[in-house]
């Protein structure tokens, strides 16, 4: 291990930032994939994997990804909720991995709502 320089401190903390964001439960955007039995049957795991991949590919640090149970609208699964800090959560329905990718790029990263896939804004919150 080479001797640490001042800059290296930043590098290391940058590298670990995503992990820390998850541990602190913070993050600018929170994506919830609904993974009830219905969701999983409809392909929620694929959606989840897409989001995980996207986070890694784009090297995003401040997005946290979480799961929840059935949202009650089983017919429109797979579903996901995107909640940008300080804004109302948005629910997306009938997702596939293409759609998930687009939602990630547009809404999660840029903050632009993808109206085509959205079900509603401001639904119940997970608590």
């Amino acid at each position: 291990m080479p001797k640490l320089k001042i800059e290296d401190l930043e590098k290391i903390s940058d590298e670990f930032k995503r992990t820390m964001t998850v541990r602190e439960g913070g993050g600018k955007v929170k994506v919830t994939v609904h993974m009830g039995t219905c969701g999983i049957a409809a392909g929620a795991r694929e959606i989840m994997n897409t989001f995980v991949q996207q986070i890694e590919e784009k090297n995003v640090k401040d997005v946290i990804l979480t799961t929840s149970g059935c949202a009650g609208l089983c017919s429109r699964e797979p579903m996901a909720t995107v909640e940008v800090l300080g804004q109302a959560p948005v629910k997306y329905v009938d997702l596939n991995s293409e759609k998930a990718k687009k939602i990630f790029e547009e809404h999660v990263l840029k903050g632009v709502l993808v109206k085509d896939y959205a079900l509603s804004i401001g639904s119940e919150r997970i608590q």
Partner: protein, 610 residues
């Protein structure tokens, strides 16, 4: 860099480890692999979470779901429901006393939400055996800051301004200590971290070391930089903390690998190295001079401190010794500034370093409260807040009686002082002290004489025996207390206790003897009537002192409900119970040894105690 969707923070503090938290960890990893979730979820072992009474603990992040009192058999359910399906498992969550609904999120549990974390800032967040975790949480940035942009004097002024005072007990202003040590001319100086935490039931320092060893190391380095001419640092850890020793050694090793310890740190002229020394388990070695003689390889006995250790300490060289918690507080002060730190707490330290208590203090909350564990609170918080909010009140709805602060030589604080703000001066005023942060809560079932005896027995046994007042005096006090609790007390004993206590306080060589009588003095002050009950009426109001109790058998209950079962007779070691099967039994008071076995074995509630 692999990123995980989920982080499972398994508490690996000593409390949880002894409750098999490593088995929980293994079970989690096994289950995760079974569900092929290993790419999504990472299991991390952390230092002590603080809520030791609820261990073993797992916190699932990012949701912040707090699972408590886990068993290995709970794990498959937890993994399948929460990790796979995203449904947090209610039955494994924390339920506040007297309530039914669980609180899923850690941040909403009062035990956690009412705390302010400075010393414990990284608790439950990092893997203590991984330096990268510490750095990712801003670690060693304070060191970089002082080395790059601050002169030693600036660092010193910052610490002085912050109002930080020693967290080990005495509350000596840290800045002044550093300044004095810096002023003494010497080519060789030492810094020492006192991690010989010996108070029974107190484990603040252990928790910090086990959970965040690098913060201590960083604090020591900043101190060494400020004081200058420091050739080495020592960390004195008691042998009973093997995990702490291990984590310190790992941390030092990793810091050396990164070049954070050693020569030319960050390519500056600053050199520093740290050695770990293990204490052999003598309580008195927590005293600074005894600790230093112990490091030197001599029997750990204190010496007079008329010449301070900052002038002549380890190997007669100027030595700056601070407690673990004190050192840990240093990096945040540097990073966030003295103003931030002094905004927390009481009083004003701008002119008088002794004028206030700043920052936070970690307490280990124990005794008859619902939530026991480690709490960090801002100075000036009331005892009521700590005991009733964070601690969740008295167990089983009993009545609060007193709280003892400051370890075995601290004093007892009665109920009428419950609104006392917790800071150095206020605690001293009522006859107790901050100490290293022990806090033992007592309810109506505790006998104050017995409690005072318990703590005095501890200090008496741990007295090194060097000076007469502590060696002989505490033993005489204990003898008197033994007499009182066994019904042989005389009225004049109370005055004798007071006289002896005062002499011991005034004339002992070190703080151990000087504070040993505190439990007795404060109980005499606030609970004198209990002593008098023991001495005059030969009664123990809390029914604790067995020698003062009378065991009788309720004959009616014995015959009618228990049909004279004779179990008590069979078990009585003194053969004091007379009676035949199916007939009423009774106790021969002359023979009764007051052991209480009959009370414990009687299934029909027929034994009466008075």
């Amino acid at each position: 860099m692999k990123s995980y969707r989920l982080q499972l923070m398994v508490c690996a503090g000593t409390g949880c480890v002894s409750n098999h938290s490593f088995e929980i960890k293994d079970a989690l990893e096994k289950e995760i692999a079974k569900h092929k979730l290993q790419t999504e979820a990472e299991v991390v072992t952390t230092g002590c979470n603080g809520f030791c009474g609820a261990g073993p603990l797992v916190v699932v992040q990012p949701d912040g779901i707090f699972y408590q009192m886990l068993k290995v058999s709970d794990i498959p359910l937890l993994v399948e429901e929460h990790l796979l399906k995203g449904r947090p498992v209610k039955k494994l969550m924390y339920v506040p006393p007297k309530e039914e609904a669980p609180i899923p999120k850690m941040s909403n549990i009062p035990f956690f939400s009412d705390q302010t974390l400075v010393a414990l800032r990284n608790r439950g967040m990092i893997d203590p055996e991984n330096i990268n975790d510490y750095i990712a949480r801003g670690g060693y940035k304070a060191l970089a800051k002082v080395l790059m942009s601050m002169t030693p004097d600036e660092v010193l002024q910052e610490i002085k301004k912050s109002g930080l005072r020693g967290r080990g007990g005495g509350g000596f202003p840290t800045g002044i200590k550093w300044e004095t040590c810096k002023r003494i001319q010497s080519d060789t100086k030492y810094v020492i971290c006192n991690a010989d935490e010996g108070d029974p039931g107190a484990f603040m320092d252990r928790s910090i070391i086990e959970g965040d060893p690098h913060s201590v190391i960083e604090g020591m380095m900043i101190g060494a930089y400020a004081i200058q001419n420091i050739c080495e640092g020592y960390i004195y850890v008691r042998m009973e903390y093997p995990l702490a020793i291990k984590r310190f050694n790992i941390a030092i090793e990793q810091a050396k690998e990164y070049g954070l310890l050693g020569e030319k740190i960050f390519d500056t002229d600053f050199n520093f190295d740290i050695k770990v020394r293990r204490g052999a388990g003598a309580f008195v070695c927590g005293e600074s001079t005894a600790l230093m003689t112990s490091i030197e390889g001599n029997p750990g006995e204190p010496r007079a401190k008329y010449i301070h250790t900052v002038e002549k300490g380890l190997w007669d060289k100027p030595t700056c010794l601070n407690n673990v918690e004190t050192w840990t507080n240093v990096p945040p002060i540097i990073l966030k500034g003295a103003e931030w730190f002094s905004s927390i707490g009481t009083g004003d330290v701008t002119h008088d370093a002794w004028g206030g208590s700043k920052g936070t203090k970690v307490f280990s909350l124990a005794g008859k409260v619902n939530n026991t564990g480690l709490v960090e609170v801002p100075m000036g918080i009331t005892l009521r807040d700590i005991i009733f909010n964070i601690g969740g009140g008295i167990r089983d709805g009993k009545k609060f009686k007193a709280v003892q602060t400051g370890g075995p030589s601290g004093g007892f604080i009665p109920e009428n002082l419950i609104n006392l703000p917790v800071d150095y001066e206020e605690l001293t005023k009522v006859g107790s002290m901050m100490g290293s942060g022990g806090m033992v809560v007592m309810d109506e079932d505790n006998c104050m004489v017995d409690m005072a005896k318990y703590f005095l027995k501890f200090t008496q046994e741990e007295s090194c025996g060097k000076c007469i007042p502590c060696r002989e005096g505490t033993k005489r006090m204990l003898d008197i207390l033994e007499n009182i609790t066994s019904g042989k007390g005389k009225e004049e004993d109370l005055n004798l206790l007071e006289e002896l206590s005062n002499v011991i306080v005034e004339s002992s060589l070190c703080a151990l003897g000087g504070s040993a009588p505190n439990p007795v003095l404060t109980t005499l002050k606030y609970f004198r009537e209990e002593y008098e009950a023991h001495v005059k009426d030969k009664k123990c109001p809390a029914r604790v002192c067995k020698q003062l109790l009378t065991y009788t058998i309720d004959e009616k209950q014995c015959v009618e409900v228990g049909h004279g079962c004779g179990v008590c007779k069979k078990n009585c070691p003194d053969n004091a119970i007379i009676g035949e099967i199916k007939k009423a039994h009774h106790i021969d008071q002359n023979k009764c040894g007051k052991c209480g076995v009959c009370y414990d074995v009687c299934r029909f509630n027929a034994i009466r105690v008075e």
